[in-house]
């Protein structure tokens, strides 16, 4: 089946998308979903560096069996529009971990769109997204959490922080919680701010040049998204890809 039509602003999930970039990409590209099955009792960790000189939309459907665990970590960078969509369905006692960073300037739009369905009891999920933007760019996180009526003891958390390095950049956080069970923990938080000027001056007063001070502060800021990733080499890869995008950025 093909949708053959492009989304519009009226589609809630595409409200902040770069529609011009989607048009360049074509409607058919939006119809491609990657299915990832994580059988009961197994675990999978995936890391992605997303972004290039052309628009990219990556859509994934992740199904976790009982007691399974999936951890996805993404650096969302590049030179054009990027969107990473992950739909997750959790069986009993399963865990989904997500850490994502959107970073960029030059007017680009970057998006994470997640839908985490706690279909059965005792599943847990944790999502940490950090957005760093400048030069009129935008970082979006649309995060939906659905808890089914009998999915008691669900524990779901979502945390978004945006860091805007200069005026004109923006960040949009759209948490959406749909909870039909009564014995659950669902937490979400979203903040957007500027670089800590006091910390920047403190670093400069010790001899750190402004670009390095900015890099250290951004590195510390986005580090939260990859804390749950144990493999150091993978973590370095994601951080390097993100900090690489920062090179030459506004100071």
């Amino acid at each position: 089946m093909t949708t053959a039509t492009l989304p519009t602003r009226r589609d809630e999930a595409w409200r902040y998308a770069d529609l011009a970039a989607l048009k360049r990409l074509g409607a058919d590209a939006l119809d491609q979903w990657q299915a990832i099955d994580v059988p009961a009792g197994t675990s999978v960790t995936r890391i992605f560096v997303v972004g290039s000189d052309a628009p990219e939309v990556h859509r994934m459907r992740v199904t976790l069996g009982e007691g399974a665990s999936a951890a996805f970590f993404v650096t969302n960078a590049g030179g054009d529009y990027t969107r990473v969509e992950i739909e997750v369905r959790l069986a009993k006692g399963a865990h989904f971990e997500f850490g994502g960073v959107t970073i960029g300037g030059a007017g680009v739009t970057r998006e994470f769109v997640t839908q985490v369905v706690h279909a059965e009891p005792e599943a847990t999920s944790n999502q940490t997204v950090r957005a760093v933007h400048w030069g009129g760019a935008t970082g979006n996180f649309l995060g939906e959490i659905k808890v089914a009526r009998h999915a008691q003891k669900t524990d779901a958390a979502q945390d978004f922080k945006g860091l805007l390095l200069e005026a004109g950049a923006s960040a949009n956080a759209v948490p959406q919680l749909e909870i039909f069970a009564d014995d659950v923990k669902c937490a979400h938080g979203a903040t957007v701010g500027a670089l800590d000027e006091a910390a920047r001056f403190y670093m400069m007063a010790r001899g750190v040049d402004p670009a390095t001070a900015q890099r250290l502060l951004v590195q510390a800021f986005i580090g939260d998204a990859f804390v749950a990733l144990e493999d150091e080499a993978s973590r370095e890869k994601l951080l390097d890809a993100a900090l690489g995008a920062l090179e030459g950025a506004w100071l």
């Binding site: 800590d196 000027e197 670093m203 400069m204 001899g207 250290l216 510390a220």
Partner: protein
């Protein structure tokens, strides 16, 4: 080493420093005392180059250079150290990472080779020991979760590692208990008491001056230096108060 001439500075539209003149040669520890609101911290911030402080007149020459023309990191590389009254917490950045970046940035701008990780850790351990600070604390995030006294000791460890020619210490003694005050005072002496170094020591109390014996003491009031004397001036202030001494 530091020549401040007729310095005027404002914060926003408010003039704080109103013609401050002060000369500190190499080898001198110069204490600045003064009532609240006199402009002591403003002087420290202006010397450090903090954004938001505007110099409207006057000059500051540091080791023959126009200090005010330099960016804050260039001032540090030129040999200036600003000890903060309220050291800043930097979550997610360790002291070791921060200070190695800082030291190597300074060395680079002076045309010196960077220190390797091992060399840096050896230096850091040495200076932490001087301030009786556990090396484990230096592996933690910059000032995060440090008590007021620990932050001030960490400032002095930073000073030891960066080894500046000139230190501006803004109320480094505030928030310290008696033992920590002795340790910090001894640290200042060990790191900065040298014929080719100098210190501008901003303080409210004689107790720090008991440990770090100043060569000169000046009173800053109303944005200007109103009196300069020897160590006995601080003792008189302690005994009689600003109003009596300045009258």
């Amino acid at each position: 080493m530091l020549e401040i001439t007729n310095l005027h500075a404002s914060v926003g539209d408010k003039p704080i420093l109103k013609g401050l003149t002060l000369s500190i040669p190499a080898g001198e520890i110069h204490a600045i005392m003064g009532p609240n609101g006199a402009g002591k911290s403003t002087l420290a911030h202006v010397l450090g180059g903090k954004p938001g402080y505007e110099v409207t007149a006057g000059s500051v020459t540091f080791r023959g250079q126009d200090l005010l023309a330099l960016e804050p990191h260039e001032r540090a590389a030129a040999g200036l150290f600003l000890g903060f009254q309220y050291p800043v917490e930097i979550p997610g950045v360790s002291n070791v990472q921060f200070l190695r970046e800082a030291l190597n940035a300074q060395r680079k701008s002076r045309g010196e080779e960077p220190l390797s990780g091992g060399e840096f850790l050896k230096l850091a351990k040495d200076k932490a020991g001087l301030l009786k600070m556990d090396m484990e604390m230096l592996k933690r995030q910059v000032n995060v979760g440090f008590s007021g006294g620990e932050k001030k000791r960490a400032e002095m460890v930073q000073m030891g590692i960066l080894d500046p020619a000139f230190a501006v210490l803004d109320e480094t003694d505030s928030g310290l208990d008696i033992d920590a005050l002795r340790i910090v005072g001894a640290g200042i002496n060990a790191i900065m008491r040298s014929p080719d170094k100098a210190v501008l020591l901003i303080t409210h109390y004689q107790r720090l001056l008991d440990v770090v014996a100043p060569d000169k003491v000046s009173i800053l009031a109303g944005g200007r230096i109103v009196e300069t004397g020897g160590p006995e001036l601080a003792l008189r202030l302690e005994a009689e108060g600003y109003d009596a001494v300045m009258a």
